[in-house]
């Protein structure tokens, strides 16, 4: 997709984060366009997860600003950011393990409808909520597992559930943290297809180590090295970038 003409959805401006004396983010500037699939790559310890934590509100930035559709979100709490339309998944599978797959999704749908402190209605007859949860479950191809506990799903099913939960909140901007980590080749291919389908029309930002996934799925790629963006561009641009080659890609290929 040509996203160059699209409006900016997420703007990160000179973002800094230090833990004590340790500088993790050393002035990150990054702009994500509406509707693009943007990969964040970089060597271990580059600060990819920290950047996600800063955007999604887990940590407060030490400096700099983050804007979501022009509104400042840096410094807000995770739930406030989520309600403004940005949701993330997690590197480690992070589901409600003792609830059914269906209920995992339904909690997300409740969030989307702003149902938070409802103690006076039964949830069973709430058609809209239940139908929507079923539809989403179908979308992530888990409808046959609806009544199974999340902890009983296979690893890749749990990852698909993760994505379903992220979608359920109705977020327009989705951050996925290594959605194919630990998966077999087949599972990875399946997951890439799934992500491609379900993020249609939404803005996606993902951390990913698997370069074939990155080059196959994403419109633009940013390379994060030691708390700074080394380069941002399309797959071809990044592949041919000398600096990136030496800092990251070459090193990856040696493994």
């Amino acid at each position: 997709m040509d996203t160059a003409m699209q409006p900016d959805v997420l703007v990160i401006d000179d973002l800094q984060k230090h833990f004590g004396g340790l500088e993790i983010m050393r002035g990150v500037d990054l702009t994500i366009k509406q509707g693009e699939r943007h990969a964040l790559v970089g060597p271990n310890g580059a600060g990819k997860s920290t950047l996600f934590n800063l955007i999604s509100g887990e940590h407060r930035p030490s400096g700099g600003r983050i804007y979501l559709r022009g509104q400042r979100i840096s410094g807000l709490k995770p739930e406030q950011i989520s309600r403004r339309g940005l949701t993330r998944s997690f590197q480690i599978t992070n589901v409600f393990s003792r609830m059914s797959a269906f209920e995992n999704i339904r909690i997300g749908v409740m969030a989307r409808h702003g149902i938070r402190f409802n103690l006076y209605r039964r949830i069973k007859p709430m058609r809209a909520i239940n139908d929507e949860a079923h539809a989403l479950l179908q979308q992530v191809r888990l409808d046959h597992r609806a009544d199974n506990l999340a902890s009983d799903l296979t690893y890749s099913e749990q990852r698909a559930l993760e994505i379903g939960m992220t979608l359920a909140t109705g977020a327009e901007v989705i951050l996925l943290d290594e959605p194919t980590a630990g998966m077999s080749r087949d599972e990875t291919a399946y997951m890439v297809e799934l992500i491609r389908q379900v993020t249609e029309g939404k803005t996606l930002m993902m951390v990913e180590h698997d370069m074939s996934v990155v080059f196959g799925l994403c419109d633009r790629i940013s390379v994060l090295v030691y708390g700074r963006i080394l380069a941002t561009g399309g797959p071809e641009e990044i592949r041919s970038n000398q600096e990136v080659q030496s800092a990251y890609l070459g090193e990856e290929e040696e493994h």
Binding site: E79, T87, F90, N94, R116, I123
Partner: protein, 429 residues
């Protein structure tokens, strides 16, 4: 589901019909069991559903009790007209407020720190109460009288029983309805993964405060009923024992199942009522039950019952009958041996017995199980061994058999149920 409804209605009918036929002692025991059941159900909202283990829930139980005692005094002196039947509403309101306030601070932390904050808050009240005469009546506590209302005099234990039963049934019904609401589902999600609900747009702290406050509110109703029944309350309602007892009831019953804690509270309170009348060692027996349940049926009595209900169609009941009967028999043998040893030691090591020995210079025979035993006769000590060793052996055999029968008919797609037979191991005590 329909069977569950029938079972509940049958139990309810029994609870309505039976008590007039019982003596006041049993009526009083049933009142206490009902109160314990409500307290455990309220506590389990926080622990089992919200995933927050409190060690200081006596605080909200006690606040409910003292609120009602104050209100009863005002009614008694004619200051305020307030119907006796509605007194628990006042206890509920004040406990809700206290729960919201305490919950605001306690839920800032989770796990051990949460437990310690709740413990500290309850201990604060426990140490403050004996020194605050106007509020808590000092060490003696406060007393009042139940006033007649709505045509009931509330003079008899039976009338108090029915008042308690009504409130407990309504409150447990409400607590069950809670689990069916969107917020009830959110509570479970909170237990499973607090971080995730924050990133899905929920205010986790706010959610936890509400869960805490509602749990405190229903605990307050239980405390109110206790105050109405006893017509008195003193600082000991805030004690760690009260907080610990509800933990015990909840976990023996099984905190992962809604009705578990209710079953646990009823079973243990009635057990205490019966056994404490017979022996001083009742707390030891209670402790043994707790340890056995935790070791062999970690999901509690309720968990064992639930596993059976879920598997009722898959289980080969006819083939299970024999090993179940054997397990019961063997369990009784082991229990008899244990009780014999405990009771013998209780008598022989008592101060009275030592005094008798010093006075007469003889070790007199003592009575257990309606028979006389000589302290130094070999058979006295051989008897429990003869029960215990074959008992344990048969128990192992019976449970090995039960386990194979359970495993054979398991659908292996459900890890929960596959684990059930192991939990049943030697759970028949």
């Amino acid at each position: 589901m329909r069977y569950a409804l029938i079972a509940i209605l049958a139990l309810l009918a029994l609870l309505i019909i039976a008590p007039p036929l019982l003596g006041t002692g049993w009526q009083y025991a049933l009142i206490n069991a009902l109160i314990a059941a409500l307290f455990a159900a309220a506590f389990n909202l926080l622990v089992g559903q919200g995933g927050m283990l409190s060690f200081g829930h006596a605080a909200y139980f006690g606040v409910g009790a003292f609120t009602v005692i104050h209100l009863m005094q005002s009614v008694e002196y004619g200051d305020i007209p307030f119907p006796t039947v509605l007194l628990p509403l006042a206890g509920a309101a004040v406990s809700l407020l206290c729960g919201a306030l305490a919950g605001f601070f306690a839920t800032m932390r989770s796990g051990v720190y949460f437990a310690l904050v709740t413990l500290a808050l309850a201990e604060l009240l426990h140490s403050l109460a004996p020194h605050w005469d106007e509020m808590f009546g000092g060490e003696a506590g406060l007393s009042s009288m139940r006033m007649p209302s709505l045509g009931f005099t509330f003079g008899s234990t039976l009338e108090v029983y029915y008042l308690t039963l009504s409130w407990v049934v309504i409150c447990i019904g409400l607590l069950y309805a809670y689990t069916r609401t969107p917020f009830g589902r959110l509570t479970l999600a909170l237990r499973d993964n607090e971080q995730r609900i924050r990133f899905m747009g929920f205010n986790a702290h706010g959610t936890k405060i509400v869960v805490f406050a509602i749990s405190a509110m229903f605990s307050g109703v239980a405390g109110s009923l206790m105050a109405i029944s006893n017509e008195t309350a003193n600082y000991s309602v805030f004690s760690t024992q009260v907080s610990a007892l509800v933990v015990l009831h909840t976990f023996v019953g099984g905190s992962t199942i809604f009705f578990g804690p209710i079953v646990g509270a009823c079973v243990l309170s009635l057990f205490t009522f019966v056994v404490s009348g017979v022996t001083h060692s009742w707390m030891l027996y209670q402790g043994i039950i707790f340890v056995l349940v935790m070791l062999f049926a970690p999901k509690g009595i309720g968990g064992v019952i639930q596993a059976h209900i879920e598997q009722r169609h898959a289980l080969p009941w006819k083939r299970l009958a024999a090993p179940y009967a054997l397990a019961t028999l063997a369990g009784l043998m082991v229990a008899c041996a244990t009780v014999f040893v405990v009771q013998s030691l209780e008598i022989v090591l008592s101060r009275e017995y030592a005094a008798a020995v010093a006075r007469t210079g003889e070790y007199a025979p003592y009575t257990v199980f309606a028979r006389e035993w000589q302290v130094f006769h070999p058979f006295t000590w051989l008897f429990p061994v003869l029960l215990l060793v074959p008992g344990l052996y048969l128990l192992r055999r019976a449970f090995a058999r039960i386990q194979t029968l359970w495993d054979k008919d398991d659908d292996d797609d459900n890890g929960d149920i596959a684990a059930a037979p192991r939990e049943l191991m030697e759970g028949g005590h």
